[in-house]
Subunit: 333 residues, 2 copies
DNA sequence: ATGAAAGCGCTAACAC
DNA sequence: GTGTTAGCGCTTTCAT
């Protein structure tokens, strides 16, 4: 396997330079020479060493992807989109997970820089101890996906979460609901805030007083959705509709409702967010907001790619549109 | 940012060699020298260039991960496990997706080799047109995860799928079921075969004749599970139990059963496979086989790591144990 | 159309 | 303890 230009040079009788140019199909090499060299290369199964190339060129054709939560099916889809776009641009992806830990995120970025990635795509850790200040000092291009960081809004590719949260809540209100439980996401995720704001503003617009205890924070997973809903019911918190931070939490909530004898959507209407693949096939197909997950990844990469090609390009926020899917857990359509 | 040893050398007055050794904390450098150099490095925010290091050392501390289906929550978990183990060994991961396409897989491996990865972890495409012959010619270590390839069994880290499939089917049989529908996985996934064999052998052991039409192939996703189950019911295929290839398919099946008026588990018992996170929280918590997904990834990496350290080490198959979780979609326990 | 030589940033072998 | 030198495999001037 492998081999090197030097080896090819010795075997072919041509200089390393000519061999290099021939293999890269430059056009100032005589066709016959080119053919001979390429033949030889093929024969000995030569594979160019991209590490050497990267060192020489000061460019690795590699991006770093720093994900806060890649077990989440939502981000798994986003990452597929990134990979897809990267591949079509001849780039690769070093993937690092942070488990929502800012220290790990910082470390990840540093080590990726050492590895000379050409750009960075992050699903960043939000909340108090975020790395926005550090990110601002970076000398390579970077984009944030599905989340935003104060002062770095222009670096984000987002969706219309506020608008959809607002719309959902407004619809509930129009349908006569006054006690709408919001199973919110963790505060360290910026989307939680956007969705909460949408909820809150919609209530205000509908003239319904906002009530603290109708917002119950979850960690964004099914298990917590289940427990928090269960507890809410036990504590005799009355509600007739649930706007859930995401589908996972909604699945847990549906389970708790069922165990407590509530019928969906008759007694309680439920809507999720994200629209995961299987949500449509649940016992009650789940109403949700369809976010273009793969596209989020693709757009983020393309945006990053632009900045890698033109370092002077200015950043601008991108917002993709999502769509509310009305299914069996809600009554309206 | 960045800088280089040369720069540090000039600024500090020491030779590049000394600088290099100081930064790597070798012990034949005078403590004061070391301190001075490290200080300076810190000051100017020096980050060692790992690309240059890789070239020099002929070692990248990077593994290639070739996944056939990383949108699948099952493999998403596996990949978390890989990443976790890799990180603790100071390795990184180039992730490439193949979408079950052997041509893409081949291309992925080739380009990863060009990138000088030290080892390869694959969730390989199985079936007719697989790349097992090519894999055999590889000069770097590799491991297959959760799937096997003929002639490369020793390179796999697997779970006891056959045994659990057998056990499940036997339990159904003991419970009096004679018409057990198996929603099988696609033939291009080796696990489909193992699970099917387990089903088949169990029937034989129980003296129940195997019937072709009780095995319905799916693509492993919820949507197909739904459609295939729906069709099976419409075609008046009688069955009183379903052994599903995985949880996703089972979710689809549960939906179809509900739409057709069957009650689970009274009319039809259902069991899945894999035990995804949210399966416990479905309307009916799903009985399933809990596969240690992250551990699968971790063990595979450790196995690979051993081989990267000692190229002469012989390969041996690893089989991890899974566990059947009895929940509400089945009657036995 | 082809070749010679330099250099990307690093580490290792060998000297002193 | 520290310095000198060579070289990993590649591309890029600059000659010829």
């Amino acid at each position: 396997m492998a081999g090197s230009l030097k080896e090819l040079s010795e075997l072919s009788g041509y200089s390393m330079n000519t061999v290099s140019r021939a293999l890269r199909d430059e056009d100032d090499v005589k066709p016959e020479t080119k053919a001979a060299i390429r033949n030889l290369a093929q024969q000995m199964g030569y594979t160019p060493n991209r590490v050497a190339k990267s060192l020489r060129l000061g460019k690795t054709n590699t991006i770093g992807v720093v994900s806060a939560d890649s077990a989440n099916p939502f981000f798994a889809e986003v990452i597929i989109g990134i990979e897809d776009a990267a591949r079509s641009r001849n780039h690769h992806m070093l993937l690092v997970n942070t488990e929502e830990d800012p220290a790990r995120e910082l470390e990840a970025i540093e080590v990726l820089l050492g590895r000379q990635v050409d750009g960075l795509l992050l699903i960043p850790v939000c909340g108090e101890r975020n790395n926005s200040e550090y990110l601002k000092t970076l000398s390579i291009p970077f984009e944030l996906i599905g989340r935003w960081l104060p002062g770095l809004e222009e670096h984000s590719v987002l969706t219309d979460e506020y608008e959809k949260a607002n719309e959902i809540t407004s619809l509930f209100a129009k349908n006569g609901h006054r006690d709408i439980l919001h199973l919110s996401g963790p505060t360290f995720v910026s989307g939680s805030l956007d969705r909460l704001r949408g909820y809150r503003d919609a209530l205000e617009e509908a003239g319904i007083p906002f009530r603290d205890n109708l917002v119950v924070m979850t960690d964004g997973h099914a298990e917590d959705g289940y427990h928090k809903t269960y507890e809410a019911i036990q504590s005799e918190l009355n509600f007739t509709a649930i706007f859930s931070f995401n589908d996972l939490v909604a699945v847990g909530a549906l389970r708790a409702l069922k165990e407590c004898g509530y019928r969906v959507p008759k007694d309680v209407e439920v809507i999720g967010f994200d629209d995961l693949d299987y949500s449509r096939f649940l016992h009650l197909s789940l109403s949700s907001v369809r976010i273009p997950k793969q596209q989020l990844g693709r757009v983020a990469f393309e945006e990053l790619y632009e900045h890698m090609r033109d370092k002077s390009k200015t950043y601008g926020r991108r917002t993709l549109e999502s769509r509310i899917m009305f299914r069996e857990t809600t009554l309206f359509d």
